[in-house]
């Protein structure tokens, strides 16, 4: 356990120190949300209709942008070899790194969602659903993304194909997340969508560390 937290702490510190971390992810999030009204036009009624969709797309992007370096930096400087030899099982190392990634991207994005919702004129009644959905959905983005990051860590052999595999895996999280908010706005219960999102999270939690660890081992050969 202390090894696990050592990895988490290291990655969080690296993210914060190197200017790749939560503060800047937040800024990225705010900035991108700002861009949509610029492109789409200032009509608030229009914005409020597309608002939650925009928020989800941007959360996905914030995750994606930082994911590609999840293992790459450690691979390129040789740390990954050492992590693979350490007593902490590689699956747990992956989980620790994913947790650190989520703490510095998904979590801040979730916490910021109401503020961004206000800028996009989303109805405040939808905020609780939005936040719960993001709390369930953003870890999925980090988890699923870790497989893609692990697969593409090496010489990017077939990297194209593999990233194509990952993007569609994001679709369920996106759809359920957006539907949950929509349901709330229409006065329906978001429960079924949130449950599906939760199931998605559980599946990702159970499977992706194995996949990512296997992919990493392959790249260390």
């Amino acid at each position: 356990m202390s090894r696990f937290s050592a990895v988490v702490a290291r990655d969080v510190r690296l993210a914060l120190r190197q200017g790749g971390g939560s503060y800047w992810t937040l800024m990225f999030f705010i900035l991108t949300v700002t861009l949509f009204p610029l492109g789409v036009g200032p009509d608030l009624a229009l914005l409020s209709r597309i608002g939650s969709g925009v928020l989800w797309v941007v959360a996905l992007l914030a995750a994606l942008l930082s994911l590609d370096r999840l293992f790459q930096a450690d691979y390129e400087d040789g740390s990954l070899e050492l992590l693979a030899l350490a007593p902490l099982p590689l699956e747990l190392t992956v989980l620790a790194k994913v947790l650190a990634h989520w703490l510095t991207t998904g979590l801040p994005v979730t916490l910021l969602a109401p503020l961004m919702g206000a800028m996009l004129a989303i109805e405040p009644a939808a905020y609780p659903t939005l936040m719960v959905a993001m709390l369930l959905g953003t870890p999925v983005l980090s988890l699923v993304g870790s497989i893609g990051a692990a697969l593409t860590v090496g010489i990017r052999r077939g990297g194209v194909l593999l990233s194509l595999l990952v993007m569609p895996l994001y679709v369920p999280a996106l759809i359920f997340g957006a539907l949950a908010v929509e349901a709330t706005l229409e006065g329906l219960s978001p429960r079924p969508h949130l449950l599906l999102l939760g199931a998605d999270l559980l599946v990702a939690l159970a499977l992706t560390p194995w996949g990512a660890a296997a992919a990493l081992r392959l790249n260390l050969e």
């Binding site: 200017g19 800024m27 700002t34 009204p37 610029l38 200032p42 608030l44």
Partner: protein
């Protein structure tokens, strides 16, 4: 060895700055007091009523947010071309103050917007470009944080500051280029009623003195901080 030491010149700056700061601080307080007194006792704008007093916060901070950035851009150019270490430090020390003015402008503007336009925020050209200015400030601060070596960070930040200066004319002319909710400029062209203009200009001067005071203090801190850092590195190497 002596001319090698780039802090030799900043040392002289420290002495001068120490002497000037108290007077500047005093001047800031006097101007602020006079401007606020004139402003708050002036007859209120008939159409806008009491919320218009936010103007005394909004207009000077809006103008300062751009002035500070302009100064930063000039300092950056000086730092890049003549490699003057003080220009570097001046630009760095300005950034947070400028970001503060920008935030003040944004917050006061949206507080003013609620009663006059009926909304806190609109995706209006001037409002948006001012928000973008805020992001440019943050990006500038970020690059200083992200690069360890201050010499290199300084030049990287200077390049960014110059690139970001394209935003200044956009903010200023946005009201003319696009039809927007926001007021066009009038204050500095002498189109404004002296009853409003006198307190506004006084407060602008006060804000400016405040900026210079805080800038000098921050520069002093930065110089001393760098000296300490350098000593630490020397120690680590010994």
């Amino acid at each position: 060895m002596a001319n090698l030491h780039w802090l030799a010149n900043p040392g002289r700056f420290l002495r001068i700055s120490n002497a000037v700061v108290p007077y500047l601080a005093g001047l800031t307080v006097v101007l602020l007091a006079y401007g606020l007194w004139r402003g708050l006792t002036a007859p209120h704008d008939a159409t806008q009523g009491a919320p218009a007093t936010i103007m005394y916060m909004h207009v000077p901070s809006a103008i300062m947010s751009m002035t500070v950035y302009g100064g930063m851009a000039v300092a950056s150019a000086v730092a890049l071309i003549w490699k003057h270490p003080l220009a570097d430090i001046a630009a760095k020390s300005s950034a947070l103050i400028g970001a503060g003015f920008t935030a003040t402008c944004l917050i006061s503007g949206s507080m003013w917007g609620r009663p006059t336009w009926g909304t806190y925020w609109a995706w209006d050209a001037r409002l948006t470009s001012e928000l973008v200015l805020f992001f440019v400030y943050l990006g500038y601060i970020a690059i200083w944080q992200a690069i360890e070596d201050p010499q290199r960070a300084g030049r990287a930040a200077a390049i960014l500051a110059l690139a970001g200066s394209v935003n200044l004319p956009i903010i200023h002319y946005s009201v003319e280029w696009w039809n927007t909710l926001h007021q066009p400029a009038g204050l500095l062209q002498g189109k404004t009623d002296p009853v409003l203009a006198v307190p506004l200009l006084t407060l602008l001067a006060a804000f400016f003195c405040f900026y210079v005071t805080v800038l000098l203090l921050r520069m002093e801190r930065e110089i001393v901080g760098r000296k300490i850092r350098q000593l630490r590195l020397l120690q680590a190497q010994a």
